[in-house]
């Protein structure tokens, strides 16, 4: 075996050398940072890889395609934040017939950029019949008329519907997902407009953004591009029913900004997925790098040490492996057998050592001719001892440098496979996120998706820069001929 002290001395020497290569140092720092991120993924974002499916309840209360939260800090506009409304008043009226429950939440809206969503949640039990109403009392209290003759005394009624219910029920109402909310708002505001006799624009109910309308000023822009109306809003959830019992009611405000990297169209927190992307990327890249070091050293050393017909034979095999195209093999195997990430890693591990093996063999041939190897041989050292004690320490840095250059290639290839539709559907990598952005046509809207496209790719660039600059610096240190004059 390689003596540990020797190896340690080598590593320390290499690291001291490294200090003179500024770019290499930056590279090592970036790699260390990304490895830390990858290792911490299960702590920082537990379960995210399993919950990444489209429509998983974990993301239900997030806004869709909200910008990163720090956009609020660097721009002059005030962006609405994600909020769970805590303040509410509760009112319950017991009657012989249907009883009714009423939760009134207060929301202080002070943002220039309006919230993206409002989520209402409630659960309980009833005998037979319930009636749900969700009413919003605005700071300006315009003279509004509810639909179907309901007098609502200046409030917006966004949900007003009977339900037949027996036993337990649980409901989540999301403003952007319910067509009826949009239509209700449109009807009420159009009726108001007609009484005001303004010549207001009418985009048609289809283009009304419900949340923006709720928080919009009552002026000519109300339906089309609402101006924010700041102030205190009272949001009331009102349920009537026979023997109605309510367990809880909840209101979440979906922010105009959310999370470190924003959210995607399916409300998933991009940052949490990004962390797992680093983990899976480094997992794939790391395993391929390790197998590359192992295979290429074994191959190169055997070939170089024994020489003769062994070398000749192994070189023939190597030339054949060299010519095998990676992508077609990947496509066929991943499409027809299994598209799990381990299959991808296996194929890359089987193919990627070939480039490094060539370098190792060439270097091995030089080392094998060194005089101290000859000396060791004449002193009676066995071939195993010569290879492990004298040759491998000379060769290993080359293998490490080559393997480091491979890591970004593996990570980029894995991500690219997702765009081709061959990625592992059960995990989340940067490729998963970018493929979602691609299929959702995110490229068409700068405002709503720059973060969705930018950050996953940036992860690849950071890791790529880290490994390539480290690998290059390492090559320069072990092979001083490459230094600039």
């Amino acid at each position: 075996m390689v003596r540990l002290e020797d190896l340690k001395a080598d590593i320390i020497e290499t690291l001291t050398e490294f200090k003179r290569h500024k770019i290499g140092l930056i590279g090592i720092g970036l790699i260390a940072f990304m490895i830390l991120v990858g290792l911490l993924a299960p702590v920082v974002a537990p379960g995210v890889a399993d919950d990444w499916d489209r429509g998983h309840p974990r993301w239900n209360q997030n806004p869709s395609q909200a910008a990163p939260v720090w956009v609020d800090w660097i721009t002059r506009d005030d962006y609405a934040r994600q909020e769970h409304l805590q303040d509410y008043e509760y009112e319950e009226v017991e009657r012989t017939g249907p009883n009714y429950h009423r939760y009134t939440f207060t929301y202080d809206m002070q943002a220039d950029r309006l919230p993206k969503e409002i989520f209402f949640e409630y659960s309980g039990s009833a005998d037979r019949y319930t009636h749900r109403r969700i009413i919003i009392e605005r700071p300006d209290s315009p003279e509004l008329e509810g639909q179907a003759g309901f007098r609502t005394s200046g409030n917006l009624v966004i949900v007003d519907e009977p339900r037949s219910e027996e036993g337990e029920f649980r409901e989540t109402i999301t403003t952007m997902r319910r067509m009826s909310i949009r239509d209700n708002l449109y009807t009420q505001i159009r009726a108001y407009q007609r009484r005001q006799d303004y010549n207001w624009s009418d985009p048609g109910s289809r283009d009304v953004n419900p949340v923006q309308t709720i928080f919009g000023q009552a002026n000519e822009n109300w339906l089309e591009t609402p101006d924010p109306l700041k102030g205190e809003y009272n949001i009331t959830i009102e349920l009537t029913g026979n023997n109605l019992e309510l367990d809880e009611a909840d209101v979440h405000i979906g922010g105009a900004v959310y999370g470190v990297f924003g959210t995607d169209r399916d409300r998933r927190d991009i940052f949490l997925g990004w962390i797992w992307g680093a983990r899976f990327g480094l997992y794939a890249g790391g395993i391929v790098a390790l197998t590359t070091i192992l295979f290429s050293t074994t191959y190169g050393m055997t070939s170089a040490y024994y020489g003769g017909w062994v070398d000749e034979f192994m070189s023939r095999i190597h030339e054949i492996i060299m010519g095998i195209p990676t992508l077609p093999i990947l496509i066929i195997v991943l499409e027809f057998y299994s598209n799990s990430i381990n299959m991808f890693v296996l194929i890359y591990a089987l193919l990627m050592w070939r480039g490094a093996a060539r370098v190792i063999r060439a270097r091995g041939l030089q080392v094998a001719q060194d005089t101290y190897i000859e000396a060791a041989e004449s002193l009676g050292s066995g071939s195993a001892r010569i290879i492990t004690k004298h040759m491998i320490p000379q060769i290993l840095p080359y293998a490490v440098a080559q393997a480091a250059l491979l890591v970004p290639i593996v990570i980029m290839a894995e991500a690219g496979l997702h765009i081709l539709g061959l990625g592992d559907p059960n995990i989340v990598t940067w490729g998963t996120i970018l493929n979602d952005a691609h299929t959702a046509q995110a490229v068409t809207h700068w405002q709503e998706s720059w973060f969705w496209i930018l950050f996953p790719g940036l992860g690849m660039v950071v890791i790529g820069f880290g490994f390539i600059s480290t690998g290059m610096a390492l090559e320069r240190i072990i092979n001083p001929e490459m230094k600039q004059r």
Partner: protein
């Protein structure tokens, strides 16, 4: 020269062996799935025959006979390893079968479809390759001449950064910024303009306009790495003793660079350019999907999306393999031609 004939023969043999191995791997991976599909087809065709036939005395026996008939037609009665060889032969003779979902110019033969899409890939990719290789070599040479200067340092940084950029991601950003935000380039669309409506000049202009953004993206991503590799190869040679000797003799620097250095640098520079070109093919295929450029990558995405289009996937894989293997072979031949010192055998492999 007998030595170079030996080299040529050796390389050709190597290429053929690799090609056969790859085709066997491809058709072996493919045969399990193909077997399942063909069994289903044989059974459903026999069922159809039964429904079409009138007055069959023994339906079960009839069904069995017809199924056996179709199984024979699809070679399902012979062992699998034999079928792998049969399908390998089909692949080698470019007989990939027909596609269920995709047609090209009215034909649903896979080879016709691929031949319809392949020119578009070549148009984009080869144009880009010529430009970025020429630019890369020119800038790399310049940087090597002034090694250690600001230009050289910037190139190193740019080379490392560009090498860590996924081309298709840069493409997505470019579309987001330059197409949909600034509106400088046309929206990506898989349709090409028609020559009949535009006339030749108008047609070329339209194609160039459509091609501009993908082309710029590919060049931007690949040129830095190319320049950097060239620079490293040339600086290595500039430190060789004979260059020092030439300089010491007082030969002008221009002559040292373009005479002595380039002569030595040409084989590795050209070969590595060809190899880099082959390697980047995969990245360019994914970029095609992002740019909706109707080439091989775009076709492949469609075939994978349709799931059932196994023949198209197999066909594309083979054509890609063939282009790769043949390109690799050409690169080797060119290297041998440019650098007569190359020998056959283990010495040749150690370059």
């Amino acid at each position: 020269m007998p030595a170079s004939w030996k080299y040529f023969a050796f390389r050709t043999l190597n290429m053929v062996v690799v090609l056969v191995i790859v085709v066997l791997i491809l058709s072996a991976s493919y045969s399990t799935l193909a077997e399942r599909e063909l069994e289903t087809t044989a059974r459903s065709q026999a069922q159809n025959d039964l429904e079409a036939a009138e007055g069959v005395d023994n339906p079960t026996e009839f069904l069995e006979r017809r199924t056996e008939h179709y199984r024979r037609r699809y070679n399902l009665h012979i062992p699998r390893w034999q079928r792998i060889f049969y399908s390998a032969w089909d692949v080698l003779t470019l007989d990939f079968g027909t596609s269920q979902e995709i047609t090209y110019g009215g034909s649903s033969y896979v080879i016709d479809i691929i031949m319809g899409y392949l020119p578009n890939t070549i148009l984009l990719f080869t144009t880009a390759a010529f430009i970025y290789t020429a630019m890369g070599i020119a800038v790399g040479l310049k940087a090597a001449q002034v090694a250690g200067s600001k230009l050289d340092k910037f190139l190193s940084l740019f080379g490392i950064t560009a090498s860590s950029l996924p081309m298709w991601w840069v493409g997505m950003l470019a579309i987001l910024i330059f197409v949909y935000t600034l509106g400088w380039f046309p929206r990506p669309e898989p349709r090409f303009p028609r020559i009949e409506n535009l006339g030749l000049l108008g047609y070329i202009r339209e194609i160039l306009y459509k091609m501009a953004l993908p082309l710029i993206t590919i060049i931007f991503v690949l040129f830095g790495g190319r320049a950097w590799v060239t620079r490293n190869l040339v600086t290595g040679i500039l430190q060789d003793d004979y260059i020092m000797a030439a300089r010491a003799k007082g030969i002008p620097e221009r002559k040292v660079i373009y005479g002595h250095t380039l002569k030595t640098a040409a084989p590795p520079v050209i070969t590595s350019a060809i190899l880099a070109l082959l390697m980047s093919m995969g990245g360019a295929m994914i970029s095609e999907i992002v740019f909706q450029w109707p080439g091989m990558g775009y076709l492949l995405r469609r075939a994978i999306f349709w799931q059932t289009d196994v023949p198209v996937i197999l066909g594309i894989s083979f054509i890609m393999s063939f282009l790769f293997i043949f390109g690799y072979y050409l690169a080797d031949l060119i290297y041998g031609f440019l650098d007569p010192r190359v020998e056959v055998g283990s010495q040749g492999a150690s370059r």
